[in-house]
């Protein structure tokens, strides 16, 4: 046996959740960005109103990113989230659905959006787990197909929601915080619990870290992979409901390029693209970094193009940092 010294578990280390200590650098980066915002835009940036603007901007893509975080942690990727979101809003706002969903039963629309999202996810999962198609291709196929289906159903029209109860629900701001921000907080909180405290989370990490070892430990990995993509689909469904609440409309262009924003947020947040290690807390910060940045650019009247260049630079920087840390660990 090698002469390794027995190291007693340090009690102090356990107090602070590892997700916080590991994300310390990320939190600092976020605070620096906020500081830049405050310096350049002053109180316009620092106001409560603006804070709510940032959170509202972050909420929808944030919910999708939570689902994406699970999929990426398992070593997969879900490219279909953006166009599936659009499809879910279109399906939920078709004339037939709206006809049956009246003031009291507008939950039907919510139900349809969630079912469409989950069904898409299950399809992805089956293609990946049982069809043995690499996640990139399986979900890319759905990205393309869902987009087409949404355009077909909506006939390229924007479908306006005329269900009064629905509008009312999304127009109240409990405690001064918009409903969609509340939903984001709930999803993030539930995601954190699911990731860090449940068997589901453990198995996800196991599959991403070593699929074969996890399978040989007696875990039904194929079934779990289907559930992972279904979970991502569920977050897409929730995000679709939020999108309908914010815009009072369903259209195939909803959620356009959300897959890119979500993946960027997850990876910048510190989740490894190769799987095995992820962080919900980091994902939330990752989303906030991007939306805050967008907000700062808007506050300073800078063009969208500059903003996108900055986003690109941040993604490259974050991935370089990740690789550096990973290398240092293995060295």
């Amino acid at each position: 046996m090698s002469a390794q010294v027995s190291v007693a578990p340090s009690k102090a280390k356990r107090r602070m959740p590892p997700s916080v200590t590991r994300n310390l650098g990320l939190v600092i980066a976020f605070l620096v960005i906020c500081l830049i915002g405050y310096i350049t835009a002053g109180s316009r940036f620092g106001s409560v109103d603006n804070l709510m603007t940032i959170l509202r901007l972050a909420a929808i893509v944030g919910v999708v990113s939570i689902g994406q975080c699970f999929v990426i942690t398992s070593g997969g990727i879900d490219l279909s989230v953006g166009s599936m979101l659009g499809l879910a809003t279109v399906w939920a706002t078709t004339g037939a659905t709206q006809y049956y969903a009246n003031q009291t039963t507008w939950l039907l629309m919510v139900f349809v959006a969630l079912v469409v999202g989950v069904a898409g996810g299950i399809l992805n999962g089956i293609l990946v787990a049982y069809g043995k198609i690499i996640p990139f291709m399986a979900t890319l196929a759905l990205l393309v197909a869902a987009k087409g289906l949404a355009e077909w159903i909506a006939n390229r029209q924007t479908q306006i929601i005329k269900v009064p109860g629905f509008e009312q629900f999304f127009s109240v701001d409990p405690l001064g915080i918009p409903v969609i921000v509340w939903i984001f907080a709930l999803v993030a909180g539930a995601g954190w619990l699911l990731y860090n405290r449940t068997t589901f989370g453990r198995r996800t990490i196991g599959i991403g870290g070593n699929l074969e070892a996890t399978r040989l430990a007696g875990i039904k990995t194929d079934r779990h992979i289907v559930m992972l993509y279904a979970l991502s689909g569920l977050t897409v469904g929730i995000a679709a409901v939020m999108m309908m609440g914010r815009t009072m409309a369903g259209t195939s262009t909803h959620g356009n390029l959300y897959e890119m924003d979500a993946i960027a947020a997850v990876v910048v947040g510190g989740t490894l693209l190769r799987g095995g290690r992820g962080t919900i807390f980091g994902t939330v910060i990752g989303v906030l970094i991007f939306t805050t940045l967008t907000n700062i650019f808007t506050q300073n009247n800078l063009p969208l193009s500059v903003q996108q260049i900055a986003k690109g630079a941040i993604i490259v920087g974050a991935v370089l940092l990740q690789q550096y840390i990973a290398q240092r660990k293995t060295a």
Partner: protein, 506 residues
Amino acid sequence: MVTDDHQGAPLLTASGVVKHFPGAKALDGVDLDVYPGEVHCLLGQNGAGKSTLIKVLAGAHKPDAGVITWQGQEVSFATPVAALRAGIATMYQELDVVDGLTVAENIFLGNEVSVAGFTQRSAVHARTREMLKRLGHSNISPTTEVEQLSAAGKQVVSMARALSHDAKLIIMDEPSAVLDSEEVANLFRVVKDLAANGIAVIYISHRLEEIRQIGDRLTVLKDGKTVASGLRVSETPTSQVIALMTGHEGTLEFPPRTSAAFGETVLSVRDLALDGVFSDVSFDVRAGEIVGLAGLVGSGRSEIIETIYGARRATSGQVLVSGKPVAKGNVAAAVAQGMGFCPEERKTQGLLMEESVGRNITLSIYTRLARFGFVDDVAELAVAREQVAKLGIVPSDPEREARTLSGGNQQKILLGRWLAHGTKVLFLDEPTRGVDVGARAEAYQLIRDLAASGVALVVVSSELEEVLGLADQVLVIAEGRVVHVAKAADINEHQILDLIVEGTPA
């Protein structure tokens, strides 16, 4: 072809080569000398260090100690390219050809003949044709995409690439593994041709009969050491080669058997078969009993336990645990019925290397540790601590990452996983692979203790001494069949060797 004494200086010598990896010593003093124009066979069981040695020779790994000389000069190749430039070409088992490129493009990959960035297709094709002809394969066109070639064809391309670099030594890692018998004959013709032209070949294979057909001399590796170097193939009987590969000559110590009676039959295997790998495998294991499978690599011994465990789907036959049939090809069902498996490849099949020791131990029992899906962290840590203490895992911190532990302690993590699960039948594939010889006694004691506690065990090992020392009952496996069953006390290493040699066409 075999000259009685090799005139002149050796082409390559390696002496005292040592290579460590975190937690394991892959090479621990290897000596090898290769002369121009000879076919030198490198033998050893899985994990003996063959792959590491060829990677060191090919410049892919840097040795920690030892001297390598090439054409009389001491060398240290920093990269595979440097080794290739010097004249050492390696054909890895996973053929390193690019499917999407043509034969010619593959052969000259990284070595393109170009003028101002434009590849000179006609010149390249001419040279390719010339090389393919030299290898006796003028039927392959330089413009064929490699994807369309058979495994044998790809191998020829790989060899042509070696020739294009004017290689003086070609290392072939199990080249025959992917070929059928006709293709093997062709391969041998090419190898003999290369040797006749003064090119040295290091030939690695598990098939002993091939060594006899093609080899001039042989070197045997075991546990990262050379146990025999440069033996003449014509003067070394097959049984001696197997003995060198498997024997420990009484250097291992085993805890004494307790005379406790075995319990009821826990595992029954009935007429199990996997097409093309093994057939007609039947045996029983009782509670507290250790059954050992003895056989060479490729005999089907690992596949047999993987199939019982459900990691592979049996073609026919049945597996019963405590009399109840187990669903085929379903690991989760096998585990639920009380089976556990410590695989040969801990890193790729056993552990989550970047997760903590504790979570690796509890991987199979998350569900049991959870209420409504929420894992009870306190209970989880308690289970982990219990197993860490019981098995003497060092360091004794269940929150350490698994990859930081030594091979022996990583093996204990796996044992702990199944102990925590309360496994009734445990399969151990090469339980002491990568475990320091000094730490083995402890591993053996643990395995015995497990049996004494009523677990039924099935042990596979490349080392006959280990099988004999641990097992109560021994099944000798050759060519996918159980050729003999005996009590460990009634059979010795030499008898097993004879049975293996008999059962293996040589």
